[in-house]
């Protein structure tokens, strides 16, 4: 008996070498060959087509098939399905997926749009593969509009229309009402006090990058502050944490001094880049407060944790402090530690209000009426859900 087994396997392997079963890898281990001599049944009905949800980038092809007859049954039980992809009908191509038994569909997400692909699917039982089912060509079609994002487009366009409309209205000289923003007058007052005391004004435009809207709003306010400072002939120190913000601040201040008729008083050394690192910046600004003793500290822009460090050090040096940020987590500190605070959106409103440029009010008014629309949609949503209309939530589900 002991001699019989090797002899048997030898003869089988010779036979197999002469008449290989379809799909078998030529170097399959001998022992497995002994155990199994037939591959699992092939899958049937393989189909390949463009993935149809109209939102993809054309990089997906959807496959479906009927399970191999041996899936989940007997000794030839399928262990996995293997999906191959190629660009020619008779090529083996690249293995793109191995799937668990019981799977009869797959979305191939790695295709190049517009290229024709052929697919082969094989059932594999651990040793042998079934004959491959083939399908193709299938082409991933590129879509030009992502329909699932339609609600975003509709609301955005409505919003744009309102902003543009109000901006034009303002440009034509229509008086647009904006409610009083507490603390706005304090800015001028603070600069005035610094002048009386003969000490500089410190203006920190936040630590946001130039693409942060708060930074841009802050630069608009800075232009206004610089004009007052120039008129009062009070030094204005602007420390920044970003290089680009520094160069923009230089331009803004230089120009404000020129407009105020004091271009010679502009001191480039007072617009300083300190550090990109948050607390290196915070520490250095605290140092400026302790040593150069500004009498008015204005913190307007995007602030994070350094807010309280500034506000408390400024309190210690007895400066009058005005702050404003849309970073909500910092507002409690500014509110408690500073003399005046612009809350959230008031910062944007202030930039429109202070620049005395009616055009800028358009954005504010547009946002305001968008808020009304938002409120209406929420109320409508609440009512519709109460009435048992579920479509509402679905419409707002975007991807």
């Amino acid at each position: 008996m002991r001699a019989l087994l090797p002899a048997l396997s030898l003869s089988v392997s010779v036979l197999l070498a002469l008449f290989p079963p379809a799909g078998r890898a030529a170097d399959a281990p001998l022992s497995e060959v002994v155990r199994e001599t037939a591959a699992p049944a092939a899958v049937t009905g393989l189909q390949a087509r463009d993935y149809l949800d109209n939102n993809d980038r054309g990089d997906k092809i959807e496959l479906s098939w009927c399970l191999s007859a041996d899936d989940g049954a007997g000794a030839l039980s399928v262990l996995e399905y293997r999906v191959w992809r190629s660009q020619a009908p008779d090529e083996q191509g690249e293995l793109v997926a191995t799937l668990e038994p019981g799977t009869a569909a797959h979305v191939d997400t790695g295709v190049t749009p517009g290229v024709a692909y052929y697919y082969r699917v094989e059932a594999f039982d651990g040793a042998l593969s079934s004959p491959a089912a083939t399908a193709g060509p299938a082409v991933g079609r590129i879509n030009l509009f992502q329909t699932s994002r339609l609600p975003v487009l509709v609301l955005s366009l409505a919003f744009f229309a309102m902003v543009i409309w109000f901006t034009r209205l303002a440009a034509r000289g229509t008086n647009l009402f904006v409610r009083r923003i507490p603390g706005l007058n304090a800015v001028e007052e603070a600069v005035g006090r610094a002048t009386e005391m003969g000490r500089p004004v410190l203006y920190v435009p936040g630590i946001g990058e130039i693409d942060d809207i708060q930074t841009i709003a802050s630069l608009t306010i800075l232009s206004h502050v610089a004009k007052i400072a120039a008129e009062y002939e009070t030094p204005l120190i602007v420390p920044t944490a970003r290089s680009v913000v520094m160069s923009a601040a230089e331009e803004v201040v230089k120009e404000a001094y020129a407009e105020a008729g004091h271009p010679d008083n502009y001191n480039p050394d007072n617009i300083r880049y300190l550090s990109d690192a948050q607390f290196a910046f915070a520490g250095a600004v605290s140092g400026i407060m302790m040593r150069e003793r500004p009498a008015a500290n204005l913190y307007l822009g995007a602030f994070w944790a350094e807010s309280l460090l500034f506000a408390e050090t400024g309190f210690e040096t007895k400066a009058i402090q005005v702050a404003g940020t849309a970073n909500v987590s910092q507002l409690p500190f500014f509110v408690t530690a500073c003399d005046y605070t612009l809350l959230g959106e008031e910062l944007y409103a202030a930039s429109a209000y202070l620049s005395r440029e009616p055009k800028l009010l358009g954005g504010l008014k547009g946002s305001d009426w968008m808020k009304v629309i938002t409120i209406c949609i929420i109320v409508a949503g609440v009512v519709l859900t109460a009435l048992g209309v579920p479509q509402f939530g679905r419409w707002f589900f975007t991807q």
């Binding site: 120009e255 290196a280 460090l309 954005g363």
Partner: protein, 224 residues
């Protein structure tokens, strides 16, 4: 022309990125990726602008022997040392260079971990002290609103630490501090922050639109 070209560039770049969001076409996204890459390269290249300003301000201080010029010298020389340790090309030879490398174990990395990290962390932690003094001198029950702020702050401060949780241990679940904290976070806090989030989002979009359309141009430096 000095004014129009940058505004046109802003408009085109902005509109393209806006359209990119709605168009899944791979060529559009590839071009969008490219444009974003350009933007970030501009920012990366800008860092020298700031460093240049830093060097100018401090070297002026040193040259004029202004008060504290010694500290300016510290600042500039440490920066030079960091650059030397980090980028000296001649030292890149050898399997595990200590100079000219930023890998773990190099001098550059050592300076970062033992100087930059502790200094920044410690400066940040100064806030714990400042919060205490602000709490003592500024948190007043001046108005009903201020009282609400204080009460909810105290509940959260107690509800999130083990000692506070022990205080209300025997009480029914809905009277315990952790439950109240969760309730404040999940209801009033969420409603308010959601509202602020939406409002701020509109502000951001309005400003974005104004920039693209060239209405807001202060970042380009004034009006001329």
């Amino acid at each position: 022309m000095r004014r129009e070209i940058p505004l046109a560039i802003t408009f085109l770049a902005g509109m393209f990125m806006l359209v990119d969001f709605f168009v899944p076409h791979h060529r559009v996204s590839a071009a969008g990726e490219e444009l974003k890459q350009w933007g970030t390269i501009v920012i990366a290249a800008s860092i020298l602008l700031g460093i240049g300003n830093l060097i100018r301000v401090h070297s002026k201080k040193i040259a004029r022997r202004q008060s504290g010029w010694g500290f300016s010298l510290v600042c500039l020389s440490v920066m030079a040392v960091m650059l030397w340790f980090g980028m000296w090309p001649g030292a890149k030879l050898g399997p595990n260079p200590l100079v000219g490398s930023i890998a773990q174990g190099s001098y550059f990395n050592w300076m970062y971990l033992n100087m930059d990290v502790p200094l920044q962390g410690t400066m940040f932690s100064l806030l714990a002290f400042f919060i205490a003094s602000a709490a003592y001198r500024a948190f007043r029950l001046r108005s009903p609103e201020a009282s609400l702020l204080l009460i909810s702050a105290i509940v959260v401060m107690l509800g999130r630490v083990p000692l506070g949780q022990l205080l209300t241990k025997g009480l029914p679940e809905k009277a315990t501090l952790p439950w109240l904290t969760e309730a404040i976070m999940t209801y009033p806090n969420m409603a308010a922050f959601r509202g602020i989030l939406m409002g701020a989002a509109l502000g951001v979009m309005a400003m974005g639109l104004r920039i693209i359309l060239g209405i807001e141009r202060s970042y380009l430096g004034g009006e001329k």
